[in-house]
Symmetry: D2
Subunit: 372 residues, 4 copies
């Protein structure tokens, strides 16, 4: 991860500002011969798209993706496939509403990247947050749609598990509920609560944080790299790199601090599918930075949107003091739309680690049990 | 971060197994002309060194570091300095006690990297954990001692803030207390509690987790890189890459999920030192992946040591089932010694980001306030 | 340099196929506040553009570049500048003439990448050479136009110095002649010869190789990185990565093999501009992988275009044998258009090394002479 | 390639100065389960070792390598193998003869890195050339010995093909002659000539350049990466990074500039081993940056040693002018010992590309001929 690129072998580079003509990305290192159409990517983008309920920004972006390169169909082929060359993706910005930026261009929103971009670069594109806008995450979701195809059998899903102080009841977890509410919430009862709670937040012009959980199933044992290129370290970076994220956990996460060694040890029995049977998953599917074959479980905390209607104290570009409040469209709980983004980031990390494992070890197979 | 290297410009590559002849590392990209002696590094290593209290492993390792390359003193120089070439560091392993590994070489400790290393590589050095041993972190601390010199005026300190269920009282925080107890605990009263609590854990042959906090002060505003090379993303990866870490937070971390936008916004007033005065630091010193000039605050959770005296169910290398308990020396709370390791990792990330900032922007200076 | 990216800090990633909808690139790590308009890039693209004389392919591509991101003008700014975020560039493909590919899709052109792309990836986009087409080099030229702005005072120019067996007379070298002939030839007399010589080649449906020379002036001393990130090593990779290049030289190059130590040593006297005065430049401006402050001089050899009218023996995709000759538009001496490409590559390497130097050493200044 | 590291997946990082206590390297990303002992590496080091004839420096270095990490033998194993973790290698410097550096520490040898290291870093270790000494190449040879094991069936050999103006007769090429003379010369007759020629050079205190050729056989088709990570681009960088190298060629190299398209095209017929049969190898085994399955052929030019007995004009550190001649041990033709170094660099590039290919494509197999 450096600059605007993440990944080592499955490598994603994004570009584009919130209110520029377009956003785009390049996916490099993708294996050849994977079927890939724009529809494969669009289905994921549509899950993240704004303006689908009253709980996300009312900006209307169709987010129609175009594949510019890296795919081909020979005349005999029924479907186009990846060619192994770099895949260029583009989404035109449509609803970059022309507006008056006089209230924002010389003042910094507290809790926002306005100040830090300006102080780092000496200039910032203040239109809609420019490069720091969550609009960039559309390209992560697009790249993630390709990443999902790289690891055979892998399924990556995400859910919102906490909104403000309200947590879901994990006994009610039902993946099928995710699509039944505008929150990606797996607990139907909690979803009801979130709805009324967030309506209150929204009407007051405030915002609230959230916690999300990503689960990757079908991940082979052995993915990860020694010491610094660890699977969990890269998942942590990937999730922390999403706008507004302030915390990341793997498995029991901070809860592990309160466990004894006996409680934390995921005991093992001999499974009958060529894998050990783990009796628990406190580790979240990662030991020593390498996947165990259990589901990868990661959680991340998203802070509340900093663009709010309340007046806050701030400073101006030229050193004065000012009061600020932000009009315009925004997400009362920006964490909601981070669910597909989190999924995409985890999928990208796993695709990358899958390729790295295949490079060093040659095969991705259960070695266990070893021959006596 | 990839394989056994971390950092982009300030780049650390480590090697060595727990019970091999030596461990070592290469620090590459360090600026020239920084004074650097073995004593500068030794002082940090001594803080991490095992066997200093009954609460850490009784393995006796002097951890004497040797600088093999990358420093030089011209005849006229009073002190040797870095030359800009790669710095090689070596620590001989002294107390790699010869023992019988028959109980461990064909069985996997639950909650340990034994299984994942074996299934990934088809072989593992089972002597003392081999490469997955926390012994590797000595080289991180050594590299961190160099990193501390790269950012002028930066001070990075760490503390243990929670052991098992017991948290310190933040009102009692006194950095001077850190050296007065074997836990790096800044709360004298909590340290007393930890002592009796951990004695109980230790005597029972069990282990317990912990939470640590790292604070970096004197960090200039503007460090960080766009989108994927974010300062907080890299801190997250760096801390998560430490053995046994399961969670990372920046600023309010998971607490931010429960905040409203009004509460979370760190309001700003005009400071009189060429920096804005922030009225709070929920952000932990990072906005949009770039440092604000406030202290960087990161926390991480360390799980309990997996090597315990209790018997746990496991599997054998050849597919059988077995029971396991681990004799020998280990840390009842491995989180304690992770304090200097966490400091080192944060220092390395900041050194790296400092160089990256200097590359792209040319100067590291407060730009704010801008000329009208 | 890996996959479709080159550069470490000034990092260029390209995408796009010859006959796809567009080609593009992302320039990442560019310093902020550099003035940059589309016209700045277009002027370089126009130098490389095909169809400008009868000696280059007759494909008509306007090569109109669009800057999609990474630049901004505040309301008060007279000119837009780079913002430090990733710069996206796009060129639509206009003249990807629809044609019948039946003669090429299942047969491999000898001396072309047809076979190797197919055998590597299991598929290739055979339309116009796909990704292996020299069309990709338009994006290199575009990136190079930005790179030229990164190193203050640097001027990078190139010339064709040999066509087939015919070399220019270096005594006639006049940079002003470069624009007076369609060959980028600095020797007016040789240009006349090249014209009649290449007309013969062209009319016979054959092709011929060439040697090009790139000279970078105004490069500060001290650029380069130790041992593997050497300035000359990176120039070698950059030039060798251009389509059809088979050899690279720095300074005297292969001629240095015939020199004695006395002849090769570039003697030095005290200059009066804060730099040593070198009495010769056999080294081509690089010693120990680091720039000396003299002009950087690099040469590279371009093989003849493999698409020719003569019939050659080849194999088919399914293992048969066949004869092949290539109809259609192509360059009789592809080396000609490689001049602006070579300039761009050298400019990119120098921009990258300039940023890397600034990162590690902090300042780019003549240190010499040192204080006694 | 950056700083002191080369390679992307098979990654070599070196450290150490000529007259420091030791030199070393870390080989990271090596596949597990490859048999590896110190003897495997020593045999290659012994080929490069100085002091073996009167034609190389008389410095006596046993160059005994120690493997510090990354290998292991289970009790049941007959031979130790790589474990997939980072491999640390160390060679102690033995004969760093204590001497008076007063004539060199404040004066720059013309044609040497003395000046550029000083002007870049503000300091240089002037003892024996410090980091810029060819002594560093011992670690390249050591890493190359490991790289040779990564690509099954690959054989990499090198030869000296030109010394000063004298070229070998390629009709006399006999690999078995390489070991029969102190020049790695494959032409017995030319070796005789070289002997008397170099004796003259040596006795006069002068030095001379050379051209070397590296041939890699048994390289599967398909190795290489698109556009910038090309196989030939990386070979060019690898060879140009060797001390004193000024030019690199692949296949016909600069000779290709004089060929017509008909001459240059390597025609193909159907082979009977699952590969096409190429009728010539002008391409040197690389087309479009990807290996063809033919032998990889690369040449490189080495300039004469800059340390000579003749007096040359130079400048001092503090800005004065001076005359210089270099006493002490050195190589009259430093190109000779570059043969095993060039082999090692090519082997490392191929190992890296082999792993990268395996990552992206999954299998390393002849795909051709494809199913109809």
């Amino acid at each position: 991860m450096s600059h605007n690129t993440f990944g080592h072998l499955f490598r994603v580079t994004t570009f584009g500002e919130s209110h520029g003509p377009a956003i785009g990305c390049v996916v490099d290192g993708c294996p050849p011969l994977l079927p890939l159409t724009e529809a494969d990517i669009q289905v994921e983008l549509d899950r993240r798209r704004p303006g689908q309920s009253r709980f996300t920004t009312q900006r209307q972006e169709p987010d129609q993706v175009r594949i510019v390169s890296g795919v081909f169909a020979r005349e005999s082929d029924a479907v186009q496939v990846t060619t192994g060359t770099s895949i260029g993706l583009m989404i035109d910005n449509v609803d970059q509403r022309s507006k008056d930026y006089s209230d924002i261009k010389d003042k910094y929103r507290p809790g926002h990247a306005d100040f830090t971009y300006d102080v780092k670069y000496g200039i910032r594109d203040y239109r809609g947050g420019g490069r720091s806008s969550a609009r960039e995450t559309a390209m992560r979701v697009a790249a993630g749609a390709i990443a999902r195809k790289v690891v055979p059998g892998m399924v990556v899903r995400g859910a919102l598990v906490q909104m403000g102080p309200h947590k879901i009841d994990r006994n009610n977890w039902d993946w099928d509920e995710i699509g039944n509410n505008p929150f990606f919430c797996p607990d139907a009862k909690a979803a009801k609560l979130f709805e009324s709670y967030l309506d209150g937040i929204r009407k007051s012009g405030s915002s609230i944080g959230a916690v999300l959980e990503i689960v990757a199933e079908g991940v082979p044992a052995g993915l990860g790299a020694p010491i610094y290129g660890k699977l969990d370290a890269e998942i942590a970076a990937a999730l922390m790199s999403i706008n507004a994220v302030k915390g990341v956990e793997i498995g029991d996460g901070f809860g592990a601090a309160e466990l004894s060694g006996e409680e934390n040890a995921d005991e093992m029995r001999a499974g009958n599918d060529g894998r050990p049977l783990f009796l628990s998953n406190h580790a979240g599917g990662v030991l020593g930075g390498i996947s165990t074959g259990q589901p990868i479980v990661a959680r991340f905390a998203v802070k509340p949107t900093s663009s709010i209607l309340a007046t806050r104290a701030t400073v101006t570009r030229t050193g004065g003091e000012a009061e600020m409040f932000t009009k315009g469209r925004h997400d009362p709980c920006v964490g909601i739309r981070a669910v597909p983004v989190g999924e995409a980031m985890v999928a990208c990390v796993l695709a990358d680690q899958y390729l790295r494992h295949r490079a060093q070890v040659g095969v991705v197979e259960p070695r266990w049990p070893f021959q006596p």
